[in-house]
Point group: C2
Chain length 180, copies 2
DNA sequence: CCAACTATCTACAATATTGTCAATAGTGAG
DNA sequence: CTCACTATTGACAATATTGTAGATAGTTGG
């Protein structure tokens, strides 16, 4: 992290990277703006794919947390950041698949809930939100924070992820209201 | 969130905003790069000020979490993002004051620890890291996530912050090893 | 007042960046 | 093969962006 945002994109650079001349880029995307829009679409696709891949393999005792952090670390955070910096603040969301994650995880919680208890959907929502913003935040500023602290990136990161996963696991297995 | 990163900064815009001509900007900062460096220095100052302001008023039962989120929301996250996007990946950190936060919070924990228990510094570190990346992440992508979910920004945000504060408080008051 | 210095501006230069155009070559349908 | 269409390119145009130079005015210390 981090490459320049959308404001730093140059037709020349894209053309050179693609091994063509810059008018070819314009021919295919219409304009610089069209190129940015196309990249955003592809980003959203990639994000959705990451998410569904995650969901399809989620298990209660699994390493979902670590895999979420890994996904954000290698690409997802960068893509989301790019999207946010592309779209003006008022633009309609398009990050709608987060709701699907909440639904999927809550279904899991219901399925594996301890007898006599019922998990709260608001808790599920909060856990997903926390995990998302934490994974995003760690991908963007985590390395800098660890570097500033002088700790070893890899080891410190893994230690934190383990700690966080344990925290969430602890919370998820205890925060269920008695069935009423 | 979010204004263009450093790559989007134009001398014209700065000059217009300052009510002067663009050569005046160059006269004072030498070059565009000099301007960016100066802005970064000022950002770091601002960040440090926010941090010490936070630390000087921290209390065990207080609303430190909410205030941290608020600080990131109105400026701190934007500043950090700008810094990260300015400095090449290898650049030495300069976000060193996070260590001071860890030290200060741990001193608090030691002072208010339950009798017969001793708080673990690694826990303190992890809690600070989590709070930092979560506050950063929520400032940057939180509004988009809530917008995508169709919930009311203000209310949902406050609900989450309260939930998170409770989670941390719960953890902080229980995660202490017996004195050995 | 005078000299040196600073801040500021207009005008200009040099380059970067986006976009257009006309020419060329390939490709596929009939 | 011929026609229509697409992809690609070099050359060019228009504007944006950064930076320089000289002129002008204000300010300060002597």
């Amino acid at each position: 992290m981090t490459v320049d945002g959308p404001a730093g994109l140059r037709l020349q650079d894209v053309a050179r990277a693609a091994g063509v001349s810059h008018p070819t880029i314009l021919h295919h995307f219409g304009s610089r703006e069209g190129l940015v829009r196309a990249l955003n679409l592809r980003s959203l696709e990639g994000l959705r794919n990451s998410v569904v891949a995650q969901l399809s393999s989620a298990q209660p005792g699994g390493d979902s947390i670590q895999r979420t952090f890994a996904a954000y670390r290698d690409g997802m955070a960068q893509r989301i950041l790019w999207l946010i910096q592309s779209a003006p603040p008022g633009t309609p969301g398009s990050l709608t698949f987060f709701d699907e994650i909440v639904a999927a995880l809550h279904a899991l919680r219901l399925k594996f809930a301890a007898p006599g208890t019922v998990p709260d959907i608001e808790d599920t929502r909060a856990v997903i939100h926390l995990t998302s913003i934490a994974a995003f935040g760690d991908a963007v500023i985590g390395p800098r924070l660890r570097q500033a602290s002088g700790v070893k990136e890899r080891a410190a990161r893994e230690r934190f992820e383990t700690w966080f996963a344990a925290l969430i696991d602890l919370y998820m297995t205890t925060a269920s209201k008695p069935r009423g």
